[in-house]
């Protein structure tokens, strides 16, 4: 994901702005179909906390042990399209 998209996406999630979040997901719908579907589901469920977590993990690679574990966790989720709902 481009850094600008990540920054905008993070900001939209932080402000719990559904419309903005949906708009940004639409931008990646073709390139990352499975991921877009997952993110869209979170947005519909108002789980902006989860979205923030996901962006944070992408943005801070190898910053700390905790973050590394987070990343592997999130990338797993991102790679599997039919993840169970939380």
């Amino acid at each position: 994901m481009p850094d600008a998209w990540k920054a905008a996406f993070y900001n939209a999630a932080l402000e719990a702005d559904s419309a903005q979040v949906q708009g940004l997901i639409a931008e990646i719908a073709t390139s990352h179909a499975a991921l877009a579907q997952e993110l869209s589901q979170w947005s519909h469920q108002f789980r902006f906390d989860k979205i923030l977590e996901w962006v944070e993990a992408l943005s801070v690679p190898a910053a700390s042990v905790a973050d590394i574990s987070n990343i592997s966790n999130i990338s797993d989720i991102a790679n599997i399209s039919d993840v169970e709902q939380p």
């Binding site: 932080l14 402000e15 719990a16 702005d17 559904s18 519909h44 469920q45 108002f46 789980r47 902006f48 906390d49 923030l52």
Partner: protein, 461 residues
């Protein structure tokens, strides 16, 4: 922000509920009603988003896992950014204890489930109205504080200028009688310089009707001049001088109409005036020195030339006779050689005094014409009058009895005098008169000195 003001959103609301279905329902309802709605499912996320972008109001579910509504509310109230956002609790629980706790942690209202949409909107709207009014009030308070600050600063500035100004500054308000005539002025503002000028304290002046009495002693016309400034609106700029026990003081002042009164600025120009007066005196002294002969204190040649020209024209205009005497000290070079230059100078001084004494009418002019030559100009003087003065001069010099061992004509210092008199013609020149007198003097010398010769041609103009 909003492109269409008529469609301005009613306000932004943050919904917090752990059940997404509840959120969906309320989100849709409130969005339809025109609110900007944001929804989150946890207390932690509610706090994050409320700090990131504070909403106008928060609808908060009480019963949530991890962090319940009370805790969220407490955290919101503890944060500077979110403490003023009104929190309305929503809960299925309907018991007194919960309501009390809801208010204790800072909630402003309480909605119980199941609820009517109208009730939610009404409660929300009333909180938003309060919020808007509160913000408006805060804005007004802020503007008022700013205005007060500006006012305070301008007052401080004014007072600092008034107190530190080297010029006197005062503002006066007209006090009119029933007929509308200005009877006196009330001092509104007086700075320390003005107070000092008037010999009063500021407290004695401010608010009091003292101006008329005070300016009376400075200049009796000054009060009326100030009245004129107020009545005509014309600025008055002038100087005044008045005597104090410490000496004369000079002031320059400008009075400008101000409302029904005037503002006046006064500058002490005493030192400048004193310099001007000293300069004037010095100039006068210089003028005198420039026209005086240093040795004899008589008029010098420069002054003589100017006077001769002037008297010639005047006598020509008035057709009055003008007489001229040229006096030469006989054998003066020998006197100097015999007695020395100091004695020579002293001799000239004595003769100068004697001649000046003999020709002492106000219009008469005695000048040192050359080394030992003196010239006497006698306006309105006929040949007879001139002869009389020449005789007086001869007598006076004779009476000086200054010994002169080297003179061929006498044992004393003597004079040869040539007289010319003319009633000047307007087209003529004083040169002719001088020439006549010189010829007469030459003749007197030729005839053996120590005598006076009056030219025959003198009678001619």
């Amino acid at each position: 922000m909003n492109p269409n003001p008529s469609a301005e959103p009613k306000g932004s609301v943050l919904l917090v509920d752990d059940i997404p279905e509840n959120l969906r329902l309320l989100t849709d309802i409130l969005t339809q009603q025109g609110y900007q709605v944001r929804s989150v499912t946890s207390g932690a996320m509610a706090l994050r988003t409320a700090i990131a972008k504070p909403p106008d109001a928060i609808l908060l579910d009480i019963k949530m896992p991890d962090m319940d509504g009370y805790q969220v509310c407490e955290s919101l109230k503890a944060n500077e950014t979110t403490r003023d956002i009104p929190v309305i609790f929503i809960s299925a629980l309907d018991d007194l204890l919960d309501k009390v706790e809801a208010f204790q942690v800072g909630g402003v209202d309480y909605i119980t489930k199941p609820f009517h949409v109208e009730e939610v909107v009404a409660r929300l709207e009333s909180q938003l109205t309060i919020q808007r009014q509160k913000r408006q009030l805060q804005q007004e308070v802020r503007i008022r504080r700013e205005t007060e600050e500006i006012l305070y600063q301008s007052r401080a500035l004014l007072s600092s200028i008034l107190n530190s100004s080297l010029d006197g500054i005062a503002a006066m308000q007209a006090v009119r009688d029933v007929g509308g005539t200005i009877g006196d002025f009330r001092c509104l503002v007086v700075n320390p310089v003005v107070a000092k000028m008037l010999g009063k304290t500021r407290e004695e002046l401010i608010g009091n009707l003292v101006l008329r009495r005070l300016v009376q002693s400075i200049d009796p016309d000054l009060f009326q001049k100030f009245v004129n400034v107020v009545e005509t609106g014309e600025t008055l700029e002038s100087e005044l001088a008045y005597s104090t026990p410490e000496g004369d003081r000079w002031y320059h002042y400008i009075a400008v109409k101000l409302g029904d009164g005037f503002a006046v600025t006064v500058r002490d120009i005493t030192s400048r005036k004193q310099i001007e007066l000293a300069l004037q005196a010095a100039n006068e002294k210089l003028e005198i020195l420039a026209n005086l002969d240093g040795l004899t204190q008589l008029a010098n040649r420069r002054r003589w030339d100017a006077c001769l020209e002037q008297e010639w024209r005047r006598c020509a205009r008035e057709q009055q006779p003008l007489s001229l005497l040229l006096c030469d000290v006989d054998y003066f070079k020998r006197y100097n050689d015999a007695y020395g230059h100091l004695a020579g100078d002293d001799c000239l001084r004595q003769i100068a005094r004697a001649i000046a004494h003999a020709a002492k009418r106000p219009a008469d002019l005695v000048a040192r014409y050359g080394g030992e030559e003196f010239a006497v100009l006698l306006p309105n003087t006929s040949t007879a009058g001139a002869a009389q003065i020449a005789e007086n001069i001869q007598t006076a010099v004779h009476n000086l009895s200054i010994a002169h061992s080297q003179s061929d004509t006498s044992d004393w210092v003597t004079l040869s005098i040539g007289i010319a008199t003319v009633t000047p013609h307007p087209e003529g020149s004083p040169e002719t008169l001088l020439h006549e007198a010189d010829s007469a003097l030459y003749q007197a010398k030729q005839q053996g000195r120590n005598q006076t010769v009056q030219t025959a041609a003198s009678i001619v103009g």
